[in-house]
Protein backbone atom coordinates (compact mmCIF):
# COMPACT_ATOMS: atom_id res chain seq x y z
CA UNK A 1 0.00 0.00 0.00
CA UNK A 2 1.40 3.36 -1.00
CA UNK A 3 1.23 6.34 1.34
CA UNK A 4 -1.33 7.97 -0.98
CA UNK A 5 -3.53 4.86 -0.75
CA UNK A 6 -3.12 4.76 3.02
CA UNK A 7 -4.18 8.40 3.27
CA UNK A 8 -7.16 7.68 1.05
CA UNK A 9 -8.30 4.71 3.15
CA UNK A 10 -8.04 6.84 6.32
CA UNK A 11 -10.25 9.47 4.74
CA UNK A 12 -12.79 6.77 3.77
CA UNK A 13 -13.25 5.39 7.30
CA UNK A 14 -16.74 6.02 8.64
CA UNK A 15 -15.37 8.17 11.47
CA UNK A 16 -13.50 10.41 9.03
CA UNK A 17 -16.56 10.75 6.80
CA UNK A 18 -18.76 11.64 9.78
CA UNK A 19 -16.25 14.22 11.03
CA UNK A 20 -15.82 15.75 7.57
CA UNK A 21 -19.54 16.14 7.14
CA UNK A 22 -20.24 17.48 10.61
CA UNK A 23 -20.92 21.20 10.66
CA UNK A 24 -20.26 21.40 14.39
CA UNK A 25 -17.73 18.74 15.43
CA UNK A 26 -15.07 19.74 12.89
CA UNK A 27 -14.83 23.40 14.01
CA UNK A 28 -14.91 22.29 17.67
CA UNK A 29 -11.91 20.00 17.12
CA UNK A 30 -10.12 22.76 15.21
CA UNK A 31 -10.86 25.19 18.06
CA UNK A 32 -9.50 22.70 20.60
CA UNK A 33 -6.36 22.33 18.48
CA UNK A 34 -5.96 26.12 18.49
CA UNK A 35 -6.74 26.52 22.20
CA UNK A 36 -4.03 23.95 22.97
CA UNK A 37 -1.54 26.23 21.24
CA UNK A 38 -2.66 29.10 23.46
CA UNK A 39 -2.49 27.19 26.75
CA UNK A 40 0.19 24.54 26.30
CA UNK A 41 2.17 26.60 23.80
CA UNK A 42 2.25 29.20 26.55
CA UNK A 43 3.86 26.64 28.86
CA UNK A 44 6.52 25.78 26.25
CA UNK A 45 7.17 29.49 25.80
CA UNK A 46 7.46 30.18 29.54
CA UNK A 47 9.83 27.24 30.08
CA UNK A 48 12.09 28.38 27.28
CA UNK A 49 12.03 32.04 28.34
CA UNK A 50 12.95 30.93 31.88
CA UNK A 51 15.89 28.88 30.58
CA UNK A 52 17.02 32.00 28.72
CA UNK A 53 16.74 33.95 31.99
CA UNK A 54 14.17 36.39 30.58
CA UNK A 55 11.27 35.63 32.97
CA UNK A 56 10.70 34.34 36.52
CA UNK A 57 14.35 34.69 37.45
CA UNK A 58 13.56 34.11 41.15
CA UNK A 59 12.25 30.64 40.32
CA UNK A 60 14.80 27.85 39.84
CA UNK A 61 14.75 26.59 36.23
CA UNK A 62 14.25 22.98 37.28
CA UNK A 63 11.24 23.87 39.41
CA UNK A 64 9.33 25.44 36.53
CA UNK A 65 10.56 22.83 34.05
CA UNK A 66 9.53 19.85 36.18
CA UNK A 67 6.22 21.43 37.24
CA UNK A 68 5.09 22.16 33.69
CA UNK A 69 6.41 18.96 32.05
CA UNK A 70 3.38 16.72 32.84
CA UNK A 71 0.94 19.45 31.71
CA UNK A 72 2.85 19.96 28.49
CA UNK A 73 2.63 16.22 27.84
CA UNK A 74 -1.14 16.29 28.37
CA UNK A 75 -1.34 19.27 26.02
CA UNK A 76 0.77 17.51 23.39
CA UNK A 77 -1.57 14.49 23.41
CA UNK A 78 -4.67 16.73 23.04
CA UNK A 79 -3.02 18.73 20.26
CA UNK A 80 -1.86 15.67 18.31
CA UNK A 81 -5.20 13.85 18.74
CA UNK A 82 -7.05 16.84 17.32
CA UNK A 83 -4.47 17.24 14.56
CA UNK A 84 -4.75 13.58 13.47
CA UNK A 85 -8.54 13.89 13.35
CA UNK A 86 -8.40 17.14 11.35
CA UNK A 87 -5.88 15.86 8.81
CA UNK A 88 -7.36 12.33 8.75
CA UNK A 89 -10.80 13.44 7.69
CA UNK A 90 -9.37 15.28 4.69
CA UNK A 91 -6.35 13.05 4.10
CA UNK A 92 -6.55 13.16 0.30
CA UNK A 93 -6.26 16.95 0.43
CA UNK A 94 -3.33 16.82 2.85
CA UNK A 95 -1.32 14.18 0.99
CA UNK A 96 -0.11 16.37 -1.92
CA UNK A 97 0.22 19.46 0.33
CA UNK A 98 3.91 20.25 0.71
CA UNK A 99 3.27 22.63 3.64
CA UNK A 100 1.63 19.72 5.50
CA UNK A 101 4.77 17.61 4.99
CA UNK A 102 6.90 20.57 6.09
CA UNK A 103 4.89 20.61 9.31
CA UNK A 104 5.35 16.84 9.77
CA UNK A 105 9.09 17.22 9.22
CA UNK A 106 9.24 20.00 11.82
CA UNK A 107 7.31 17.79 14.27
CA UNK A 108 9.83 15.02 13.68
CA UNK A 109 12.54 17.61 14.29
CA UNK A 110 11.02 18.26 17.73
CA UNK A 111 11.74 14.64 18.63
CA UNK A 112 15.24 14.84 17.20
CA UNK A 113 15.70 18.04 19.26
CA UNK A 114 14.62 16.20 22.42
CA UNK A 115 17.06 13.36 21.69
CA UNK A 116 19.96 15.70 20.90
CA UNK A 117 19.58 17.77 24.06
CA UNK A 118 18.40 14.98 26.38
CA UNK A 119 21.70 14.11 28.02
CA UNK A 120 23.14 17.63 28.02
CA UNK A 121 20.03 19.57 29.11
CA UNK A 122 16.75 17.81 29.79
CA UNK A 123 17.84 14.70 31.71
CA UNK A 124 19.27 16.76 34.54
CA UNK A 125 17.33 20.06 34.79
CA UNK A 126 18.72 20.78 38.27
CA UNK A 127 22.08 21.45 36.68
CA UNK A 128 20.49 24.62 35.22
CA UNK A 129 19.64 26.00 38.67
CA UNK A 130 23.15 27.18 39.47
CA UNK A 131 24.08 28.52 36.06
CA UNK A 132 22.30 27.89 32.77
CA UNK A 133 24.86 26.45 30.35
CA UNK A 134 25.15 27.78 26.81
CA UNK A 135 23.88 24.48 25.36
CA UNK A 136 20.60 24.82 27.30
CA UNK A 137 20.08 28.29 25.85
CA UNK A 138 20.69 26.93 22.36
CA UNK A 139 18.13 24.20 23.09
CA UNK A 140 15.61 26.80 24.29
CA UNK A 141 16.00 29.04 21.24
CA UNK A 142 15.77 26.12 18.77
CA UNK A 143 12.73 24.77 20.63
CA UNK A 144 10.92 28.11 20.26
CA UNK A 145 11.88 28.35 16.58
CA UNK A 146 10.66 24.80 15.91
CA UNK A 147 7.28 25.40 17.56
CA UNK A 148 6.89 28.75 15.82
CA UNK A 149 7.62 26.95 12.55
CA UNK A 150 5.07 24.22 13.32
CA UNK A 151 2.42 26.80 14.20
CA UNK A 152 3.10 28.81 11.05
CA UNK A 153 3.21 25.74 8.79
CA UNK A 154 -0.08 24.65 10.34
CA UNK A 155 -1.73 27.90 9.35
CA UNK A 156 -0.09 27.90 5.92
CA UNK A 157 -1.45 24.45 5.00
CA UNK A 158 -4.70 26.23 4.13
CA UNK A 159 -2.93 28.53 1.65
CA UNK A 160 -1.22 25.87 -0.43
CA UNK A 161 -2.45 25.55 -4.00
CA UNK A 162 -1.84 22.42 -6.05
CA UNK A 163 0.72 23.15 -8.77
CA UNK A 164 -0.80 23.38 -12.26
CA UNK A 165 1.39 20.48 -13.38
CA UNK A 166 -0.27 18.13 -10.91
CA UNK A 167 -3.76 18.76 -12.24
CA UNK A 168 -4.71 15.88 -14.50
CA UNK A 169 -4.58 16.74 -18.23
CA UNK A 170 -7.93 16.90 -19.99
CA UNK A 171 -7.17 13.65 -21.85
CA UNK A 172 -7.11 11.77 -18.55
CA UNK A 173 -10.41 13.19 -17.43
CA UNK A 174 -12.34 11.68 -20.33
Amino acid sequence: MSIAELFHSVQETSAAVALRESALVYPIILSTHLTSIAIFGGMILMTNLRILGLVMRATPVSQLYLALRPWKRVGFVIMVTCGVLLAGCEADKYYPNSIFWTKMTLLAAVFVHAMIFRSSVYANPRAMDVRVPQIAKIAAVTSMLLWLGILSAGRWIAYWDPPIARIAPVSQLR
Partner: protein, 147 residues
Protein backbone atom coordinates in the same frame (compact mmCIF):
# COMPACT_ATOMS: atom_id res chain seq x y z
CA UNK B 1 -15.97 61.87 1.96
CA UNK B 2 -13.33 59.23 2.37
CA UNK B 3 -14.47 55.70 1.66
CA UNK B 4 -12.33 52.79 2.72
CA UNK B 5 -12.01 50.14 0.04
CA UNK B 6 -10.68 46.82 1.41
CA UNK B 7 -9.37 46.02 -2.06
CA UNK B 8 -6.64 48.59 -1.43
CA UNK B 9 -5.55 46.86 1.80
CA UNK B 10 -1.97 45.52 1.47
CA UNK B 11 -3.15 42.31 3.15
CA UNK B 12 -5.49 41.69 0.24
CA UNK B 13 -2.73 42.31 -2.28
CA UNK B 14 0.11 40.25 -0.94
CA UNK B 15 0.24 36.47 -0.83
CA UNK B 16 2.25 36.42 2.43
CA UNK B 17 0.87 39.27 4.49
CA UNK B 18 -2.48 37.76 5.52
CA UNK B 19 -1.27 34.31 6.66
CA UNK B 20 1.73 35.92 8.38
CA UNK B 21 -0.61 38.19 10.36
CA UNK B 22 -2.67 35.14 11.29
CA UNK B 23 0.48 33.39 12.56
CA UNK B 24 1.32 36.42 14.73
CA UNK B 25 -2.30 36.40 15.98
CA UNK B 26 -2.04 32.71 16.97
CA UNK B 27 1.47 32.91 18.45
CA UNK B 28 0.54 35.87 20.64
CA UNK B 29 -2.31 33.78 22.09
CA UNK B 30 0.38 31.65 23.71
CA UNK B 31 1.81 34.82 25.24
CA UNK B 32 -1.49 36.32 26.41
CA UNK B 33 -3.87 33.42 27.13
CA UNK B 34 -0.95 31.13 28.00
CA UNK B 35 0.32 33.34 30.82
CA UNK B 36 -3.18 33.94 32.23
CA UNK B 37 -3.87 30.19 32.11
CA UNK B 38 -0.70 29.61 34.15
CA UNK B 39 -2.20 31.62 37.03
CA UNK B 40 -5.49 29.75 36.59
CA UNK B 41 -3.65 26.43 36.73
CA UNK B 42 -2.08 27.47 40.03
CA UNK B 43 -5.45 28.62 41.43
CA UNK B 44 -7.11 25.36 40.39
CA UNK B 45 -4.31 22.99 41.34
CA UNK B 46 -2.15 24.54 44.08
CA UNK B 47 0.23 21.57 43.94
CA UNK B 48 0.98 22.15 40.25
CA UNK B 49 3.31 25.10 40.79
CA UNK B 50 5.42 26.16 43.74
CA UNK B 51 4.95 29.91 43.13
CA UNK B 52 2.00 31.63 44.76
CA UNK B 53 -0.63 33.12 42.42
CA UNK B 54 0.45 36.64 43.48
CA UNK B 55 4.06 35.82 42.52
CA UNK B 56 2.97 34.31 39.18
CA UNK B 57 0.92 37.43 38.50
CA UNK B 58 3.98 39.63 39.08
CA UNK B 59 6.10 37.32 36.91
CA UNK B 60 3.70 37.25 33.97
CA UNK B 61 1.77 40.55 33.91
CA UNK B 62 4.11 42.28 31.46
CA UNK B 63 4.12 39.28 29.13
CA UNK B 64 0.33 39.10 29.30
CA UNK B 65 0.07 42.77 28.42
CA UNK B 66 2.52 42.41 25.54
CA UNK B 67 0.63 39.33 24.32
CA UNK B 68 -2.73 41.13 24.50
CA UNK B 69 -1.30 44.09 22.61
CA UNK B 70 0.01 41.79 19.85
CA UNK B 71 -3.09 39.62 19.63
CA UNK B 72 -5.44 42.63 19.46
CA UNK B 73 -3.27 44.59 17.02
CA UNK B 74 -2.95 41.62 14.66
CA UNK B 75 -6.68 40.99 15.09
CA UNK B 76 -7.50 44.54 14.05
CA UNK B 77 -5.24 44.15 11.01
CA UNK B 78 -7.09 40.93 10.03
CA UNK B 79 -10.42 42.67 10.56
CA UNK B 80 -9.49 45.51 8.15
CA UNK B 81 -9.31 43.03 5.25
CA UNK B 82 -13.10 42.70 5.24
CA UNK B 83 -14.70 44.91 7.94
CA UNK B 84 -18.31 44.66 6.72
CA UNK B 85 -18.24 40.87 6.55
CA UNK B 86 -17.07 40.72 10.19
CA UNK B 87 -19.75 43.15 11.35
CA UNK B 88 -22.41 40.86 9.88
CA UNK B 89 -20.88 37.75 11.44
CA UNK B 90 -22.62 36.67 14.67
CA UNK B 91 -19.66 34.60 15.89
CA UNK B 92 -17.39 37.63 15.43
CA UNK B 93 -19.75 39.95 17.33
CA UNK B 94 -19.96 37.36 20.11
CA UNK B 95 -16.16 37.18 20.12
CA UNK B 96 -15.84 40.94 20.54
CA UNK B 97 -18.26 40.91 23.47
CA UNK B 98 -16.33 38.03 24.98
CA UNK B 99 -13.02 39.86 24.49
CA UNK B 100 -14.27 42.93 26.35
CA UNK B 101 -15.64 40.72 29.14
CA UNK B 102 -12.42 38.70 29.39
CA UNK B 103 -10.19 41.80 29.56
CA UNK B 104 -12.42 43.52 32.14
CA UNK B 105 -12.57 40.33 34.20
CA UNK B 106 -8.82 39.80 33.98
CA UNK B 107 -7.93 43.27 35.21
CA UNK B 108 -10.54 43.39 37.97
CA UNK B 109 -11.73 40.14 39.59
CA UNK B 110 -8.91 37.88 38.37
CA UNK B 111 -6.15 40.29 39.32
CA UNK B 112 -7.72 41.07 42.68
CA UNK B 113 -8.11 37.36 43.50
CA UNK B 114 -4.61 36.36 42.33
CA UNK B 115 -3.03 39.06 44.51
CA UNK B 116 -4.74 37.60 47.60
CA UNK B 117 -3.51 34.02 47.08
CA UNK B 118 -6.92 32.45 47.76
CA UNK B 119 -6.91 29.01 49.38
CA UNK B 120 -10.50 27.86 49.07
CA UNK B 121 -13.19 27.32 46.48
CA UNK B 122 -13.37 31.04 45.67
CA UNK B 123 -10.04 31.05 43.88
CA UNK B 124 -10.99 27.97 41.89
CA UNK B 125 -14.22 29.60 40.72
CA UNK B 126 -12.32 32.72 39.67
CA UNK B 127 -9.90 30.54 37.68
CA UNK B 128 -12.65 28.50 36.02
CA UNK B 129 -14.48 31.64 34.87
CA UNK B 130 -11.19 33.06 33.59
CA UNK B 131 -10.37 29.90 31.62
CA UNK B 132 -13.87 29.73 30.13
CA UNK B 133 -13.70 33.38 29.02
CA UNK B 134 -10.26 33.05 27.42
CA UNK B 135 -10.84 29.61 25.86
CA UNK B 136 -14.05 31.00 24.37
CA UNK B 137 -12.02 33.44 22.28
CA UNK B 138 -10.14 30.99 20.00
CA UNK B 139 -13.38 29.00 19.71
CA UNK B 140 -15.31 32.11 18.64
CA UNK B 141 -12.44 32.95 16.26
CA UNK B 142 -12.72 29.58 14.50
CA UNK B 143 -16.51 29.80 14.40
CA UNK B 144 -16.18 33.25 12.81
CA UNK B 145 -14.52 31.51 9.88
CA UNK B 146 -17.17 28.77 9.79
CA UNK B 147 -20.20 31.08 9.98
Amino acid sequence: MLVYDPATNPLNNNEWAFPLTECIHIASMALSIGTIALIDLRLLAPAALAQKPSQLLKDTELLTLAGLFLVITSGIVIWTTDPDMYFHNDAFLFKMGLLVAAILYNYTVHRWAAKRDPQGVGGKVVAMVSLLLWIGLPFAGIFTAFT
